[in-house]
Assembly symmetry: C2
Homo-oligomer: 358 residues x 2
DNA sequence: CTGAAAGCGCTTACAG
DNA sequence: CTGAAAGCGCTTACAG
């Protein structure tokens, strides 16, 4: 038996049993089912355990019971504020309920997602899979082996938490219409296909209802740069307001506008989504709150609650995101001031941005 | 034996051995030490394993070998861009080297940090502990049980990765001095005591070297609000530039200035640190690059390389952060324009900010 | 209420 | 090169 590297031997249940003058079974029960023991016994055992620095070995327990006490959270990009907030909520909730959390960052790739799911399977009791990039059959394959709860993906028969931002986007379009905007754009990204599609649809429908013209723009992977690169296209399209798939892209759009000497909301209005960084941008973004942390916590609850049932979790849990109005939305500029969509003379744009519609 | 909830029975080594007509030992070796077997045997075993869908059970392997193939990353706040970038680098590197990563968010508390370290100990081969809040004796206690690499904390005899931002801050002070600033402030936070202390010292020394007056301000927990709340104090102190412990605080300072109708860098210069969000703020922040992702990856390497040695990692690995100049720093305003430090008439500050120096 | 014993699924000296 | 067997540290029917 090699011992774990660089490690002092840890006290085991056996040592505690000896020292306390009881059997291993009793020590075990003192930790896992103390109600089966007399309070005196429990106290004695726990006391000597504490004195020896004994902690039940989760690995051994897992092998014996088949339950690991772990879950894994797989997501496309921890650096994205939506996911880091989600992770925070998920990890905290898991900890609260006695579970430890593995983290897997798939770097926005389906392949890595698949690998992560496979490698971690034996070490967890279930997965929370946020905004999966994996195709449906593969997700179902994994879900057949281990309980899975997905976030922001519609998969009948698999437990899921859906953040419904459609009402928020609908409200945002209403806000813009009320402010006099007549031509708006939705800037989406394939990243969160389900989320982005949902938002695009809400904007399109609400736009129609208000008699607005709505342009659809695809920004590619959602990022600050992608948002900035859209701006030329937005201006060329002659819109006066843009709703972005998330706040990162929205902030990029504002940066692109600023580079061209355009002010927000004076010359152009911008709406974001997620509401994590929205309060910290300049100007603070009007944004649809996506309740990220709550989505993470709810997914964990759904997963953990499912462990008690024979069948895996299967229902869907919908969270509604509401519009938070800040300073990036304002009255439509006077028609003449935006007639051509041409940037003013003092444009600061360094690149002619060939990739505005990549 | 209860089975893991909602799970189909998984094939074990025993079944594979039967089907392949070999012993369990041979199956085991086919996976872990195939060089001990004839190629034919290996092929036969791996073939039937594949056919049966057998995958070695990591938990059983861990119990037997004492090596889990897991590490844990403990940090104060995943929502902070510094840590999410760090985590990204650490997780990717661990994955590359065949390790899975547990995530523990201590919510900036020493107590949770201690709990996390204890709970996870049996399930990991080692820890990466970023900017620990725990006091030294407790860190050493944990480090005595499992290999630990700390990030941004000076602990003799424990493996550590230190991001040395002092040169960057020194350069930033030089930049400001060159731009004509005579009175500057360092806005620190207890959060990352080691980091913040290091930065404070660098600013103080460089300030003295350049003949500047340097005010030290404590912002409390590093956050956007904390930064904003500092502004009144900064203006009252009569400084024309501030260097913040990180970009989040720096962005908050810029927001507080904007609320008072002051422009950056026209009326006031701001420098941040970390350089994750710095390029996305408005205006883009001059910032000291902290190489977050690299720090995370290096810490993982240091930890994993240590597993091969008898003694735990003990050296320190220093990464140097360099100054990145963007648009938040500019010439000192003309003396008269900032004489009183009183905000202009059209101040937008809603609150009189009683807690500017909490 | 408590204990003796089998078993969870692997790995690894020890033989051959 | 391969196998029989002990052991990793727990948990849990089964007795008492």
């Amino acid at each position: 038996m090699t011992r774990p590297p660089n490690t002092k031997p840890t006290p085991t249940i056996r040592l505690v049993a000896q020292e306390a003058g009881v059997s291993q079974a009793t020590v075990s029960r003192a930790f896992s089912q103390p109600e089966l023991l007399t309070p005196a016994t429990v106290e004695k055992v726990l006391g000597t355990a504490l004195r020896l620095g004994y902690v039940p070995n989760q690995v051994a327990r897992a092998l014996s019971t088949g339950r690991t006490g772990n879950i894994a959270l797989i997501l496309p990009d921890v650096a994205n504020p939506f996911f880091s907030a989600l992770m925070r909520g998920a990890q905290a909730q898991a900890y609260k309920r006695g579970y430890a959390t593995f983290l897997g960052d798939s770097d926005e790739t389906a392949h890595l997602e698949d690998m992560l799911l496979g490698k971690l399977a034996a070490q967890v009791d279930g997965f929370v899979l946020a905004s999966p990039r994996l195709d449906e059959p593969l997700i179902r394959k994994h879900a057949a082996r281990k309980p899975v709860v997905v976030i922001n993906r519609e998969l009948e028969g698999i437990g899921r938490v859906l953040v419904d931002t459609a009402p928020g986007f609908t409200a945002a379009v209403g806000l813009l219409a009320g402010l006099g905007h007549r031509a708006i754009a939705y800037v989406g990204a394939p990243r969160s296909s389900w989320s982005s599609q949902q938002r695009a649809r809400a904007v399109a429908q609400a736009g129609t209802a208000h008699g607005l013209s709505v342009a659809q723009v695809d920004a590619g992977r959602p990022s600050h740069e992608a948002g900035r690169d859209c701006v030329a296209g937005l201006l060329a399209a002659g819109v006066t307001a843009a709703l972005a798939v998330d706040d990162v892209v929205a902030q990029g759009i504002m940066a692109g506008l600023a580079e061209r000497g355009l002010s927000v909301p004076g010359d152009f209005s911008v709406v974001g989504c997620d509401d994590i960084i929205a309060a910290t941008t300049y100007p603070p973004l009007t944004s649809v709150n996506a309740r990220c942390a709550r989505a993470g916590a709810n997914a964990v609850d759904l997963l953990l609650n499912g462990f008690a049932n024979p069948a895996p979790p299967t229902g869907s849990h919908v969270i509604t995101g509401e519009l938070v109005i800040r300073s990036s939305t304002g009255p439509a500029p006077a028609p003449d001031s935006r007639a051509s969509g041409t940037p003013p003379a003092e444009t600061g744009a360094a690149t002619p941005d060939p990739s505005s519609r990549k």
